[in-house]
C-alpha cells in the first residue's frame, strides 16, 4: 500500500540544508509511489518551497509565524502538529540533525508511534522497508522495521543519495496557519561559531586535526589542504579541549557525525568516541607519529610520520597534480 509521507525541510541561514533533500529521497522509498509533502517551518520560509519540489516533493506546506524565528520544541511542535492534523500522513521523515533529534521524539510521543533514529540506509520499499542504523557507537548496525502505526524515521546526513534536482518540476506551495503560543522555552541568545566555508556535515572532504596539531597555528596547514581540496576542517575533542580550535569543529559522538568521501585525520589517536563520528567515511587517511595509534585500524591509507612534514608535502604534491592536469 502506498503511503503519504511528510518531510520536514530544515532551514539554516535562509537556505535548505542538504539533508532535507536526502530526506525526500528516503521518503520516496518509504512512500512506494504515494504523495510526498514537504513541510517548512520558520518566520519566513515559504520561498524555499519550490526547491523542495525540484528535489522530489509533490507539494509543500509552510507554517510561518514570528514566534518560529528560533527553533523551540514547543513552537515547532505546535507548527508541525498543525500540518500533521491537516495532512494525516502515514509516514514522516526528518534529518538526524540537532533540530531533528530534539523534535522527532516529541512528535513520536504525541503520536504514540515508533521512531527509527539516525538511519543510514533503507532496504526495500513501502511496507517492506527495512531501516539500517548504527548502534554501539558505530561498532555495529541493526536492521529494524516498524510494526504498527506511523512510519517515522530520521536520516543521518550525507548517507542517502538525494534525487537529482529537476528545475522543470513545479507544484503547489501553500501556507498553513497555526497558533504558536505558550512557549515554555525562550531563546535569549545564540552564539554562532559557524566556521567560514564548507558545512562540515555536508563536505566531501574533511581534514581533521587532533591534539597532535599542538596549537591554533597548527591548524593552518590543515586549512590550506582543506581549501585546496574544496573541503572543510574538523577536529577531535582533544584539539577542542586544548583550545586549538572551536567546539563547533568537533567530530564524534558528542560532536558532528560526518560521512565525507575523504577524511584525513592528522594527529588524532582514534578514540572510539571520535570514530563514532567518522568511521563511515568512504576513504580514511591517517597521519600519526605513533604507529600503534588506533586510528590506523580504521584507515585505508596511513602514513606514520610528523604531520607538520607530511601535510605541507601533500599540499605541494596536490598542487603539482593540478598544474599537470
Amino acid at each position: 500500500m502506498s503511503k503519504k509521507v511528510i518531510v520536514l525541510g530544515e532551514v539554516r541561514d535562509g537556505a535548505l540544508r542538504n539533508v532535507s533533500f536526502e530526506a525526500i529521497a528516503a521518503a520516496k522509498k518509504i512512500s512506494g509511489g504515494g504523495e510526498i509533502v514537504g513541510v517548512l517551518i520558520g518566520d519566513s520560509v515559504q520561498n524555499l518551497g519550490q526547491e523542495m519540489i525540484q528535489y522530489g516533493a509533490d507539494r509543500v506546506v509552510a507554517v510561518e509565524h514570528p514566534h518560529l524565528k528560533h527553533y523551540t520544541s514547543d513552537g515547532y511542535g505546535q507548527a508541525f502538529m498543525a500540518v500533521h492534523e491537516q495532512e494525516e500522513p502515514e509516514a514522516i521523515v526528518f534529518g538526524h540533525t540537532a533540530l531533528g533529534k530534539d523534535l522527532s521524539p516529541k512528535i513520536a510521543a504525541k503520536l504514540q508511534s515508533g521512531l527509527v533514529s539516525d538511519v543510514t540506509d533503507i532496504e526495500g520499499e513501502d511496507d517492506e522497508a527495512v531501516f539500517i542504523r548504527p548502534i554501539y557507537s558505530g561498532k555495529a548496525f541493526e536492521k529494524v522495521k516498524i510494526n504498527e502505526g506511523t512510519v517515522f524515521v530520521t536520516v543521518r546526513p550525507n548517507n542517502i543519495e538525494p534525487l537529482a534536482q529537476d528545475a522543470g518540476r513545479s507544484g503547489d506551495v501553500a501556507s498553513v496557519s497555526a497558533d504558536i503560543q505558550n512557549l515554555r522555552s525562550v531563546v535569549k541568545d545564540v552564539v554562532t561559531k559557524a566556521t567560514d566555508g564548507v558545512d562540515m556535515s555536508e563536505a566531501k572532504v574533511i581534514v581533521a586535526g587532533g591534539r597532535g596539531v599542538k596549537g591554533a597555528e597548527g591548524f593552518e596547514p590543515l586549512k590550506e589542504l582543506a581549501d585546496l581540496l574544496g573541503g572543510a576542517i574538523g577536529a577531535s575533542r582533544g584539539a577542542c579541549d586544548a583550545d586549538y580550535c572551536d567546539y563547533s569543529l568537533q567530530i564524534g559522538q558528542t560532536g558532528k557525525v560526518v560521512t565525507p568521501d575523504l577524511y584525513i585525520a592528522a594527529g588524532i589517536s582514534g578514540a572510539i568516541q571520535h570514530l563514532a563520528g567518522m568511521s563511515n567515511s568512504k576513504v580514511i587517511v591517517a597521519i600519526n607519529k605513533d604507529p600503534e595509534a588506533n586510528i590506523f585500524k580504521v584507515a585505508d591509507y596511513g602514513i606514520v610520520g610528523d604531520l607538520f612534514e607530511v601535510i605541507p608535502m601533500m599540499i605541494e604534491e596536490i598542487k603539482q597534480l593540478k598544474v599537470n592536469a
Binding site: H70, T72, S73, D74, A98, K101, D102, P105, K106, A108, A109, Q112, G114, L115, V116, S117, D118, I135, Y136, S137, K139, A140, F141, E142, K143, I146, N147, E148, S185, V186, V187, D189, V190, V191, A194, K204, V205, R237, S248, L249, Q253, T254, K256, I272, V283, V285, A286, F296, A299, D300, Y301, G302, I303, V304, G305, V310, M313, E317, I318, L321
Partner: protein
C-alpha cells in the same frame, strides 16, 4: 527540589564487540553507567547541593543494573529505583522505555529530570524528550550549563557547536551533553554509605502497566558488524615518496581527489 536522574546500564563500547545469534554477545562484557548519564547524575547532585532536596536515580533494566544504581548512590544520589522488566519483557523500544519511565514519574511531582543526551549502545537519543512530552513538561536537550532560579532555569544548549542560551520554565527535563560537568568518582565513604541507601525494585504491575501497553512498535530484525575493513595500507619508504604514493592512490585508486 525533587530531582530525578535517568540512568541506563550500557555496554562499554570501548570493548570489543561481537555478534552471536543475531544479538550483540554480552558474555564477559563490561557494563557501565552510560557516560552521558554520569553527567546527569553529577548535575543532579550539584543542583541538590545548591538548592536542597533529593536526588532519585531511576533505571529500567534487570537485576544486574543494581550495580550501576549503587554507583550512582555512591556518587551522592539519595535513592534509587529499579524497574525490573526481566520477567515481563523480551524486547523494549524507545516508545516502551519512555512509557514506563513516564508512568512511574507521573505522580512524583518532579521539579527537574536529567537524562543523558544519548545512550552509547542504543544511540537513539529519544528517551529524554519522549518522557518530557508524556509528562507534558518542558525540555531542553544537549545542555552544557544549567542554572536554576525559582520557577525558571537558564540553560546553555549545544547546537552542533553553536551555543544557545535558553530561559526555560520549570518543571523541566534536560539531557546532558559532554562538557556539562566533570563527574566525580565515588569515594570510599560514599561507597559504604551507598550500601545502606534505599533501592526500590518494581515491576510493570506495580506501576499499573501491562505488557501490551509497552509492546514494541519497532522490531529489530538483525544485528550485524560492519564488513571487516581490510587492514589499511600503511605506506613505507622515504617520507616524500610516501606522500607521492598517497596522493596517487587517492587520485587513481580511491578516486576521491
Amino acid at each position: 527540589m525533587n530531582i530525578y536522574a535517568l540512568v541506563k546500564r550500557t555496554f562499554d563500547t570501548e570493548e570489543k564487540i561481537s555478534v552471536q545469534n543475531g544479538q550483540i554477545a554480552e558474555d564477559g562484557a563490561e557494563f557501565i553507567i552510560n557516560p552521558y548519564d554520569e553527567y546527569a547524575v553529577e548535575e543532579a547532585i550539584r543542583v541538590r547541593d545548591e538548592h536542597g532536596g533529593e536526588v532519585t536515580v531511576l533505571t529500567i533494566g534487570s537485576e544486574e543494573a543494581e550495580k550501576q544504581l549503587r554507583t550512582a548512590l555512591a556518587m551522592g544520589a539519595d535513592k534509587a529505583v529499579l524497574i525490573n522488566t526481566e520477567d515481563d519483557l523480551d524486547e523494549l523500544d524507545e516508545f516502551g522505555a519512555s512509557t514506563i519511565i513516564a508512568e512511574y514519574l507521573k505522580d512524583k511531582d518532579a521539579d527537574l529530570i536529567i537524562a543523558g543526551n544519548v545512550a552509547i549502545d542504543g544511540g537513539s537519543g529519544q528517551v529524554g524528550p519522549r518522557v518530557a512530552e508524556l509528562l507534558d513538561i518542558n525540555y531542553v536537550t544537549t545542555i552544557t550549563e544549567l542554572k536554576i532560579d525559582g520557577d525558571k532555569a537558564t540553560v546553555v544548549r549545544d547546537v552542533e557547536g553553536d551555543s544557545e542560551t535558553i530561559e526555560a520554565q520549570m518543571p523541566l527535563l534536560v539531557t546532558a551533553q559532554q562538557g556539562l560537568n566533570d563527574p566525580r568518582y565515588p569515594s570510599l565513604p560514599g561507597i559504604m554509605k551507598a550500601k545502606k541507601k534505599p533501592l526500590e525494585e518494581l515491576e510493570l504491575d506495580d506501576i499499573d502497566l501491562d505488557e501490551d501497553d509497552v509492546e514494541v512498535k519497532v522490531e529489530r530484525v538483525d544485528v550485524f558488524l560492519p564488513p571487516e575493513k581490510q587492514a589499511g595500507r600503511v605506506l613505507e619508504g622515504d617520507l616524500q615518496d610516501q606522500v607521492k604514493e598517497l596522493v596517487q592512490l587517492l587520485r587513481n585508486e580511491a578516486k576521491v581527489i
